[in-house]
């Protein structure tokens, strides 16, 4: 009877509530990726999230069986919403329809519309019932991706020079994946970057990079079993976080790191993963994870002139091995890693203890610069931490306290608050000592790695009226020690406000103002001693997303940037683009075009813009100088098994300030690129 009442309530809600704020776009994720590209962190090559979302789209997750770990993989829900949903399901039983999620406290239509393509409600099947299907009923996927810049960079014209590329200009990736839902996956990758050789030269064994993995979930007490390549995520990222993680954005409740500890690694990035064995075992409310990994890393290796011993001055993460110099650094350092995570979970709280230990084949000795005073040195390193989360009514607290091998402390604490059905707040405080170091940390900080930072982030999201939304945050921070290129302790602040308006289900308009001011060395300083100045950077963006018809989607953006060089010539930037996406219902093909104009007065006023790309891939180039750009995307579903993607892009510079040549090694006013991807699915 209670279920019937719920169903009646649901029907009433569906009839009476106009679905507002329901423009289905990937806008929040795109903004987060653009912000990552704009930060020092850069964008990860880990495309597992895209692989997951594609799988969820083609094989939606059953909300009646989804656990917390699976719900976190969507990257749409906050922990507060996940806890609310689990409690709702435990109280009222399985859901009858996805839109019943409107009844879950803390869930709104915007979130539900984002989630809807990836979930369904169905009968509950036991894990045992699925065990036999793992190897029989999964899906094999073969993927070939080929891309190339059509103009020849100077490095290709002089292959025998010190920086000359010895390989071909094509970037090539081959990937095989087998997946059965979330239960089992395995696969291999072979990849070469543009400029790297293939079956010759330094890469006589074939491709520059190979990766393989087997990953099993829900095997009795074994929650996850990873063999081969995998990523490890601990706590709030203070000591270790290898999966894709976002930093500041207008998704103000997305400030908490949330991911299963072990995740499969199946991406072309060559640095941010482990290679070995990892296992997560569930024993009642205790979940224990241990892993061990052995890898060869690329590193700058040199001989100490005093004692003649070898040492490493920096570990290289780019994955490029195109010229003699890069090839000489390839696989020069052995890294042995072992770690463990113990998590105790109750319904409303969880507590975790994390540790990771690294041993290198050679000592790491960073360059003797003042900003490297606290840098990692030696042949081994270790980090330990404790993390927690606690849900109290409409408050969700979380945090982590960590220390490194030298005992240097780091703390990060936050709270998500659903203070009103129309208002969400978030707050994150971090206190990370200047001496704290981690090798694979990725916390919610201004710096790319957690360290040398004190700061406070406060965010608010208000939905004042139908269709309207206001998101804003302020982040103030300081760096108690020097940083690379900053010769004194400094500070800064980041302020963003975004107003969004959805006049209908098909249209979303938003305007965003961002102001960032961070201290750095005075540009072009001619005095003997460097001194710090604030370098304010403001940007104002206005964007419209609208569905013109069931087949056409239109997007238009205008963005302006002002960069103040404090006494030197200030820079301004402008970027405007128009997208037209075409997806005729019932047709096997779809496509899109973009026309863009950009004009900046220098590299500091560059503007990043997310570009649609082939499946599992995204492109967020930095645009600078002056010129037009266009690209064309095309996708064809050739039957149920074969899909083809094609992207053609071209930039035509009308003014070049030298930045483009310096950055890319190209001359001439035109840059053209083509990308082709073919996927074959079979069982």
């Amino acid at each position: 009877m209670q279920r019937n009442n719920t169903y009646l309530l649901l029907l009433f809600l569906l009839m009476s509530v106009t679905p507002v704020w329901a423009q289905i776009t990937q806008e929040p994720a795109e903004q987060q990726l653009e912000n990552l590209a704009d930060s020092e962190t850069g964008v990860s090559e880990d495309d597992l999230s895209q692989q997951d979302m594609d799988l969820f789209r083609r094989h939606p997750v059953n909300l009646n069986t989804a656990d917390e770990a699976t719900l976190r993989q969507f990257r749409i829900l906050t922990d507060l919403q996940i806890h609310s949903f689990i409690q709702y399901r435990e109280l009222l039983g399985k859901l009858l329809h996805v839109l019943e999620l409107q009844s879950v406290p803390g869930w709104d239509m915007y979130t539900i519309r984002l989630l809807q393509p990836y979930v369904h409600t169905g009968p509950v099947l036991t894990a045992a019932a699925e065990t036999g299907k793992r190897f029989r009923e999964g899906e094999h996927q073969l993927l070939l991706r080929l891309s190339q810049a059509l103009e020849t960079a100077r490095e290709y014209r002089l292959p025998d020079s010190a920086n000359g590329f010895q390989g071909s200009p094509q970037q090539l990736m081959l990937r095989h994946t087998y997946r059965f839902k979330q239960s089992l996956q395995y696969g291999v990758i072979a990849e070469k970057d543009a400029g790297e050789s293939l079956f010759r030269g330094a890469q006589r064994q074939g491709f520059d990079f190979y990766s393989a993995h087997v990953f099993v979930r829900k095997l009795g007490r074994i929650q996850s079993l990873a063999l081969g390549d995998f990523t490890v995520n601990m706590g709030q990222g203070l000591i270790h976080w290898q999966s894709l993680a976002f930093k500041k954005s207008t998704a103000i409740t997305a400030v908490k790191r949330q991911s299963p500890v072990l995740r499969p690694y199946h991406s072309p990035g060559e640095y941010n993963f482990h290679r070995g064995l990892g296992v997560t075992v569930q024993n009642g409310r205790l979940e224990s994870t241990v892993f061990v990994s052995y890898r060869k890393l690329s590193a700058n290796r040199e001989t100490d002139p005093l004692n003649g011993t070898d040492r490493v001055t920096s570990i290289l993460s780019s994955g490029y091995h195109r010229n003699n110099s890069e090839q000489a650094d390839r696989h020069r350092l052995d890294q042995l890693t072992a770690g463990a995570v113990f998590q105790f979970r109750q319904r409303k709280w969880q507590l975790g203890v994390n540790g990771v230990y690294y041993v290198y084949s050679l000592p790491v000795v960073k360059k003797a610069e003042p900003y490297n005073r606290y840098a990692i040195n030696g042949k081994s390193w270790a980090n330990v931490s404790m993390d927690y989360s606690y849900t109290l009514r409409n408050f969700h607290f979380f945090g982590e306290a960590a220390a490194d091998r030298r005992g240097q402390p780091a703390f990060i604490n936050g709270v998500l608050m659903g203070v009103d059905p129309k208002v969400d707040l978030s707050l994150v405080h971090r206190h990370i000592s200047p001496g704290y170091q981690s090798l694979y940390g990725n916390a919610f900080t201004e710096n790319s790695l957690p360290g040398n930072e004190y700061g406070l982030y406060t965010g608010i999201s208000i939905r004042p009226a139908t269709g309207w939304k206001l998101d804003a945050y302020i982040d103030v921070y300081r760096f108690p020690w020097l940083r690379s290129g900053v010769d004194a302790p400094g500070r800064g602040a980041d302020r963003v406000i975004q107003v969004s308006y959805a006049p209908s289900r098909e249209t979303l308009i938003y305007t965003r103002f961002r102001s960032e001011s961070k201290q750095a060395n005075q540009p072009d300083n001619e005095s003997v001693t460097n001194y710090l100045v604030f370098l304010p950077r403001q940007s104002w963006r206005t964007q419209i997303n609208t569905r013109l018809s069931p087949a056409f989607f239109w997007r238009n953006r205008v963005e302006m940037v002002w960069y103040n060089r404090q006494g030197k010539e200030p820079e301004t930037g402008f970027l405007g683009f128009t997208d037209l996406l075409l997806r005729p219902p019932g047709k096997a093909w779809s496509g899109g075009i973009r026309l863009q104009y950009v004009e900046t007065e220098g590299y500091n006023s560059r503007i990043y813009a997310f570009e649609n790309d082939v499946l599992y891939s995204y492109s967020i180039p930095a645009f600078f100088d002056q010129g037009f750009r266009y690209y064309v995307n095309f996708q064809l579903e050739a039957g149920k098994r074969i899909s083809v993607w094609l992207k053609w892009s071209q930039t035509i510079f009308t003014v070049q300030n030298g930045n483009t040549e310096l950055e890319e090694g190209y001359t001439g006013p035109v840059r053209s690129a083509i990308k082709l991807q073919i996927r074959y699915i079979f069982q």
């Binding site: 209908s504 206005t542 013109l548 302006m560 002056q626």
Partner: protein, 279 residues
């Protein structure tokens, strides 16, 4: 050349809205005429000068004449004739404009066409030929093109973009000087048939971003009030139109903080109205 003209030339050469030797491109006179370009309920035959997609919603055979004396100087006089003609599924537009004096002059001839592309989208193209003439140095001409889109977001809300000369239209034999590229995007909002407001971000290559804001108000059936401003040079304009059956007479002026007033006159005749096949 008197001192005031010299001052005007010097300042206009540094203005974001005055591309040195091409003052017909983005001057205040067409800015007034194009006020209603971003909402079809307030579009008139002059609108396509600023947004070629506006032609798609113009349903009448119409012609208009406008003229203005730039900053009160006869050397900066501008004259323009426009005509619209429903043709096929859309509407064609013609414009010819002249500006200058015996020592320097510009002529522009434009041909545009706009049509609906579905219920919510209208598209338009405008091709122009511009000629510069300086006695003693001869004449140089260049071809330019502009494409525009006008999109209905709601009944009240429209958005438009336009791109002008993305590929260089270069003048003369030496081809050193080129027509400026322009990317512009904006909104038009009209809560009723009586009131309209719009804003447009305009980025001309090599110039600061120019934000234009316009409004139009029709308090009486026979009276139309218009006003607006552009941020790049702090130019304001205001005017009034008097409607008499199929004729409208507009008197307007622009105000430049250094160069002063540009008085102007615009006359518009609607000869015949045709319903589009798509509507």
């Amino acid at each position: 050349m008197n001192g005031r003209l010299l001052l005007a030339l010097c300042i206009s050469a540094s203005l974001p809205v005055g591309i040195q030797a091409q003052f017909l491109q983005e001057q205040p006179v067409p800015a007034y005429g194009g006020t209603g370009a971003l909402h079809p309920g307030h579009t008139d035959p002059f609108s396509f000068v600023l947004q070629p997609a506006a032609l798609a919603r113009v349903k009448s055979v119409a012609a208009g004449v406008s003229g203005g004396r730039g900053y009160g100087l006869k050397e900066f006089s501008q004259y323009s004739i426009v005509a619209t003609l429903p043709a096929g599924l859309g509407t064609a537009g013609l414009q010819t404009a002249f500006g200058g004096f015996t020592g320097y002059s510009e002529n522009v001839f434009s041909l545009g066409y706009g049509r609906m592309a579905g219920e919510k989208l209208s598209v338009g193209m405008n091709f122009c030929y511009q000629q510069l003439r300086i006695p003693g140095y001869g004449a140089a001409g260049a071809m330019g093109a502009e494409a525009g889109l006008l999109l209905q977001l709601t009944n009240e809300f429209y958005s438009g973009i336009r791109v002008k000369n993305p590929v260089a239209g270069r003048y003369g034999k030496d081809r050193q000087e080129r027509m400026p590229s322009l990317y512009a995007a904006g909104f038009g909002y009209a809560p009723s048939a009586f009131f309209y407001v719009s804003t447009e971000f305009r980025k001309t290559a090599g110039q600061p971003v120019n934000i234009a804001v316009n409004f139009q108000y029709r308090p009486l059936a026979i009276l139309l009030l218009r006003g607006g401003m552009e941020t790049a040079a702090s130019v304001y304009w205001a005017g009034a139109g008097f409607v008499l059956k199929k004729c409208r007479l507009d008197l307007f002026t622009t105000v430049h903080p250094q160069l002063g007033l540009t008085p102007g006159l615009q006359v518009l005749f609607h000869f015949k109205t045709k319903e589009h096949a798509t509507e």
